[in-house]
Symmetry: C2
Subunit: 428 residues, 2 copies
């Protein structure tokens, strides 16, 4: 049987970026990328809101996102690819208390030359027809909503078309002769002794053993290194061989509401926040319901990142919950933005994060010839280039990865043993 | 419906110790302890080797075990309970390289007044009929076994009868009027809004919500605090409400070999290592196969704590694997101790650890009115009293727990957020 240099499980954005970086750095290595779906990026990659922001308190996040967005800019500049990169900005609406808490964080971010501007509530009220004094409403009070005091606008933030990014990667890795097999589901990680003696129950605990590939729906695949980039599906493979990766699947839902009235159209095309005269990606104070301007479809995408008592539970086909919009998102959003009163979603979908329950940042480590790349916690898209490079550096046995723009990143910082990540204070 | 002050899920050693300490400290609180089995301690508690050692490099481990063993001594001194506490000691057999690595650890442990003595390999060879130069044997060489250079004997270490400890706790908590219900399996953790409005899908994300009890095989139980002490079964409850506890179930097997020959009898009753003239609990160099002198049944209990590629996977009725003894433990043990050549287990069983995959130490934290006590990683028995006290302190909202012997322990040190545990260097 042919032995590949590496088999990569998962052709989502992380598996693609990893395959791309490994093959670029090691053009002679035989790389195989497999996925259970019929094409690349068909799992949770396709379901994301595909937003990015170069605005984090944690240096780890900042470095990963910043270099990836610079890479997006580079790709966008190529004649062959249009990622539909749009700098619509992020607009964080904050209560007085929230603004007080966030001020020191903002100050330290200003020192890192992270640009932002502060808007008074009253100005936002006028520009967006935003109701800032929601607590005058009894229902809003009962719901625990807070009045808007200020808004923070972050310009280096926006959206890409994730399908285009997937296409870019797939085209490139095919061009470089990475072999791709779809409809091929990894079922088991192969663990074998270094020197088999043909004894029953091998590998026995006194034998040196390691991962030698994967068994799939279309047979065994042998490889020197096995790379698991399977997102929420990773654990069902990893736990079977006792490899721990700190990941839980967490459902997220998106609801698309058409800008079907003049008031909503006006909101979607609010002038003055960015060059596109678009509403920025907007985050309400608390609960932090957020909405994305989906300009191509003249719509707003709504979501909310809920936690307790939302289950950690792998679902093959997670479904959006009507009540989550109707009694959750709608109730919150329409209090601040009465333009949405009576608005219903025209479509909705749900996916799952691979949440790193420890610190919400990606995990990249090697154990027994197996490399795990994942737990991206919902920000895999905006970090994909950096993550691919770090995984490729680990594959090549290097201590540092060279990120786009030449910044160096210590590979072990995202590992499990000598993990070194800064906690993030600016979470949506 | 009656609301308890606390419902404790799991009457294993940790649930029992927690119930005992809470009720001792808060005699007026209404406490209910439930378990799916027909009696206390019928899960993995019953399957343990029931050993203890007051010999760890980590202060965390040392404090938890030392105070618990002092508590065992106290219980043993009562006229009502005989835990069959036996100080047989731990004997670690070490290769030259291992001894070199462990010397600085031993030096720092000597500074903590932890007693131990060092034996030369040659002396152990004589006393135990131990083959110390195993690498003369080609098979042993191929298996990667190492010659024995030294042995470390730790006297404050031994065994208890875990069933007796379970009985002690059960008798005591019944006497104090803790209510106990067996055959009662927790199926779901109840998560409810603080103020229900009767809206579909409650708790909605904008509502304040928390855990209000458990739904069981015999109906709902309401409680101000819900305490999950369900060992390997905890996660199936916790993940359904998105509470993460850093735990994976890991199978462990024990094989009992009768001392059926004069040579094995002599080994079991080796003189001079302890007052009982018993073989100490003995750990072979590498792989660290270990054996316990099971004096009541004139037998040795063998085991080995294997990892990769052993699965993390909850099993209701884990079974010992014949090949694990035959091609694993037996092959290793009989190379060092030829007395075992031809010896077969007369019985065997398997259980599961609740392994803390991050640092191998217990986890005790509160979230949304739910307290999690677990992830004891196979040393719950020897730490149970301390763990019960720390859980009771958390329940009472105290910053510190008072351990047996009056040492104080900061409750948050075993939590997830401000966790502060020392890594352990002396792992079997």
């Amino acid at each position: 049987m042919m032995e590949y240099d590496a088999v990569i499980v998962g052709a989502g954005i992380i598996g693609l970026a990893t395959a791309y970086q490994i093959k670029k750095q090691r053009p002679n290595d035989q790389i195989l990328l497999i996925d259970k779906f019929s094409a690349a990026g068909q799992g949770n990659t396709a379901k994301s809101a595909a937003m990015f922001r170069c605005f984090f308190s944690s240096n780890t996040n900042l470095t990963l996102v910043n270099s990836t967005v610079e890479f997006f800019k580079h790709v966008q500049s190529l004649p062959t690819a249009d990622l539909k990169l749009k700098y619509v900005g992020y607009l964080w609406l904050l209560s007085k208390k929230q603004y007080g808490t966030i001020t020191p964080v903002l100050a330290s971010m200003a020192q890192k030359n992270l640009e932002y501007s502060v808007f008074e509530g009253s100005e936002l009220a006028e520009r967006l027809n935003l109701r800032i004094a929601v607590t005058g409403n009894e229902e809003a009070r009962m719901m625990g909503l807070k009045d808007v005091d200020k808004g923070i606008l972050v310009p280096k933030a926006g959206s890409i078309d994730i399908d285009r990014l997937v296409q870019f990667y797939e085209t490139e890795i095919r061009r470089m002769h990475v072999e791709i097999r779809y409809h091929t589901e990894a079922e088991t990680i192969l663990a074998e002794p270094q020197d088999s003696l043909g004894i029953p129950g091998e590998p026995l605990f006194w034998q040196e053993s390691g991962v030698t590939g994967v068994d799939t729906s279309s047979g065994k695949i042998k490889a020197k290194k096995t790379i698991i980039a399977a997102g929420v599906w990773a654990n069902s493979l990893l736990t079977k061989v006792g490899i721990y990766s700190s990941m839980e699947p967490l459902k997220r839902q998106l609801f698309s509401v058409k800008a079907s009235t003049p008031e909503l159209k006006q909101l979607l095309h609010t002038k003055g926040f960015n060059k596109r005269d678009s509403l920025p990606f907007t985050i309400l104070p608390s609960p932090k319901v957020y909405m994305k301007p989906a300009l191509e479809e003249e719509a707003f995408w709504f979501s909310y990142g809920d936690h307790f008592p939302r289950a950690y539970q792998l679902e093959e086909d997670p479904q959006p919950e009507e009540n989550f919009y109707r009694y959750g998102i709608y109730q919150v959003a329409s209090k601040y933005l009465p333009q949405f009163v009576g608005a219903h979603p025209s479509s909705s979908w749900a996916g799952q994060y691979a949440l790193n329950t420890i610190d919400g940042q990606p995990v990249i480590f090697e154990q027994n010839n197996l490399i795990v790349v994942g737990s991206c916690s919902g920000s895999g898209n905006m970090k994909c280039d950096a993550i691919g490079r770090i995984a490729a550096a680990l594959y090549a046995g290097e201590e540092y990865a060279q990120l786009y723009g030449n910044e160096r990143f210590r590979v072990s910082d995202l590992g499990l043993k000598n993990r070194n990540v800064e906690p993030e204070k600016l979470i949506i």
